[in-house]
Symmetry: C2
Subunit: 434 residues, 2 copies
């Protein structure tokens, strides 16, 4: 890790810089995949699965019998842990369900805003050596709570054409409606455009490699909503005297093991703490199965010694980390001053991995500084909010004349007329003689 | 207008099709503008303003003295109308301010979600013959209510280098912090990348022509948040026996006068109503200053006779209109069955123009069917929601073992370790002998 002591502005900017991702290189390849799927549907999906996943599929759908059978293969302890995690995620997300807002803005004019579930959502779960069980829960549970009618899930099959039983189990308890064996940019295309087997959805959620990320970005510019822009995962830790170097080292490693482009940053006002953390870091690193990945990721990470608490908070807000651990005295106090972050973990007993799996918060979070303008995934992402308004004659009589004046100033005569014909009609009614 | 009676599925799809917008053609031109502004800053902006707006500016900032002076030029009646509209918009949006959500998901684990304002927002207001006063209110008032620190506004100057006093007044009462004379794709670039004069913002809001729309789309793929994807404005009206043909005609025209690509659709179950509406439409059209635009837009519009109320609702939900007027008996009843729309106007006395200006709802709404997955602009758009969590020892002891199990299944050993080192530490403390 780079170690900086009391850096100046430029040194700081250097250390906190994020790796740029050059989408242009992949664009041609991804656009070709999107086009093929749009034109050839299932056939293209089956071809790409053969090419990229080395599997020949008869069929993209994963049938319920397979889901039920594979459940029998699962360790009961794991099933139980998945259920406990699901319960906490459910509790925290249920509390976020938006309520209808209604008020009379002017006598006779009622306005209300109602949240309705997005009808069809698609979830992408990447493949690879390990099953991203928790990601299934994080993306599907809120969809189920919102009442989305169709919740489909695409994930690539393994070399033997199968999908990990834990993924299937997590999808089942989250009430995913259909699962498809399909991965990569081609799965994003399938959900964006629809094929014979896979229905077109209104919004696509989920992480993925650079191909998947770019595919989501392209379909989003075509009007298919996506959850948020993606980048490598990040952790920033604020640690003072009260922090435990062993805990902090374990947190840095839990982020570093994600991938070689993971970003880890430690800010502290305690010089001695740095050395103690480095010792523990090396110690723990030895025993890790993914030590090689972690080592590479740590290379671009930074430990930065800062003058005081206020500077630590300032730099943290400037960085806008995806994950932020506050290992400081009075973490609640510090948290009040945090204005830019994805998800925040307070105190010595709240490792990031708690939020990754089971505290209840969502682990789909804005990376790459996007926390300045994007929220972590929450219930809002599964709804669209519709506004309604109703004016009675009184309401229109009060507000109508003002609408006429502004419409006139905007030179939109027909906008004005729509009010005028009604006001005249009301007046005619009032003047009617018997 | 095209008139269809009891169409079949394909005829319906044809009539309700939206015009495709081919961004590829403009892409080169827009990318060049973005690059120039990124590289040359203010100099590029001044050059483009000379080229596109035929104005040579010394300075991009609009000073407070100019804003105050120009207020004196404004008709007091218009000022008053703007203030009344602002009050209603303010009331309805204030009611939407998100609250902190906090709960204990497991004994000893508290999770909360807090909404914080996006710090720097940029608003784009197009130029043209008429000042879009209401758009300033719709975009800036929620920013002010959310507490955004910087609210900047870019709008192109007129041929004499000036900005309409009504725009300046609306910006002033909405507490816009800085106004800049700058329009088109170059203004979007300025707000996305920052220049010497114009600060970089975290999120860009506002309508515009195809260049502006594409520029927003491109910067959004670079991580600058935008309000929503844009397309031509739309109105769908549901009318039964209880509707007034004169009112309905005035509403169709108020939409049609926006632009030649505006979409207007009338669905009714009453054959006779169609003729009465057409007569009134021709009648009202004659007196309109923007009759030519309206006429062209109406050409691609459709009046569709459907079998019954249920079919009307079904087709309306399928279309997912930006604006939806329900001119039917028991409009509340019908509104309950609307699942896809931007903003909905109930009954005979709620013309769309009421919502465009002063009912209180926002007029920045999803077009092009985006209402299936996007909300109309609302307070959420000005916040990012951050999650927080804190576990004490008890909480970690309860949930930690489940986290260990799932992390193990995901083959993320360091994620597991971050819990294990803490649980071991707690156990050691518990076992400490005195």
């Amino acid at each position: 890790m780079k170690i900086l002591e009391y850096p100046n502005k430029n040194q700081l900017a250097d250390a906190l810089g994020r790796p740029a991702f050059d989408a242009d290189k992949l664009e041609k390849a991804v656009k070709k995949i999107l086009k093929q799927v749009q034109q050839k549907g299932d056939k293209a999906l089956i071809n790409y699965t053969k090419k990229f996943d080395q599997v020949i599929l008869d069929n993209l759908s994963v049938y319920n019998e397979i889901i039920d059978e594979s459940e029998l293969l699962l360790d009961p302890e794991l099933k139980n842990a998945i259920r406990i995690a699901a319960e906490n995620i459910s509790k925290f997300h249920k509390a976020q369900i938006p309520k209808t807002i209604s008020l009379e803005t002017t006598k006779g004019i009622t306005c209300w805003q109602k949240a309705l579930p997005i009808e069809k959502v698609g979830i992408y779960i990447p493949g690879g050596s390990a099953p991203l069980i928790s990601t299934v829960l994080m993306l599907a549970i809120p969809a189920q709570l919102a009442g989305c009618k169709e919740i489909i899930l695409c994930t690539p099959p393994d070399k033997s054409g199968e999908i990990n039983p834990a993924i299937l189990y997590a999808a089942k308890i989250s009430r995913v409606t259909n699962i498809y064996s399909c991965g990569g940019a081609q799965a994003i295309a399938a959900m964006a455009y629809g094929t014979e087997s896979i229905p077109k959805v209104d919004k696509i959620f989920g992480p993925g490699n650079q191909f998947v990320t770019l595919a989501k970005q392209i379909v989003s510019s075509q009007g298919i909503a996506i959850d948020m822009p993606a980048g490598p995962s990040e952790l920033l830790i604020l640690a003072d005297d009260s922090a435990n170097p062993e805990f902090v080292a374990s947190d840095l490693l839990s982020q570093a093991e994600h991938g070689i482009d993971s970003q880890v940053i430690l800010l502290t006002n305690n010089k001695e703490f740095i050395n103690r953390t480095l010792v523990s870091l090396n110690d723990q690193l030895k025993a890790l199965p993914r030590a090689d990945i972690a080592r590479q990721s740590l290379k671009s990470g930074a430990i930065i010694l800062l003058k005081n608490e206020q500077k630590m908070i300032q730099v943290s807000n400037q960085y806008a980390a995806e994950h932020l651990i506050i290992a400081m005295q009075n973490p609640e106090n510090i948290a009040e001053q945090i204005t830019q972050a994805g998800s925040v973990f307070l105190g010595n007993y709240t490792p990031e991995s708690l939020g990754d799996y089971a505290s209840g918060t969502n682990h789909t979070l804005p990376t790459n500084g996007f926390a300045r303008s994007y929220s972590g995934l929450n219930m809002d992402a599964y709804y669209k909010k519709i506004t309604f308004q109703k004016a009675d004659k009184t309401g229109l009589e009060i507000i109508g004349p003002f609408v006429e004046i502004i419409a006139e100033a905007e030179q939109l005569q027909a906008h004005k007329n729509a009010v005028s014909v009604r006001l005249k009609n009301i007046q005619d009614e009032n003047n009617e003689q018997f």
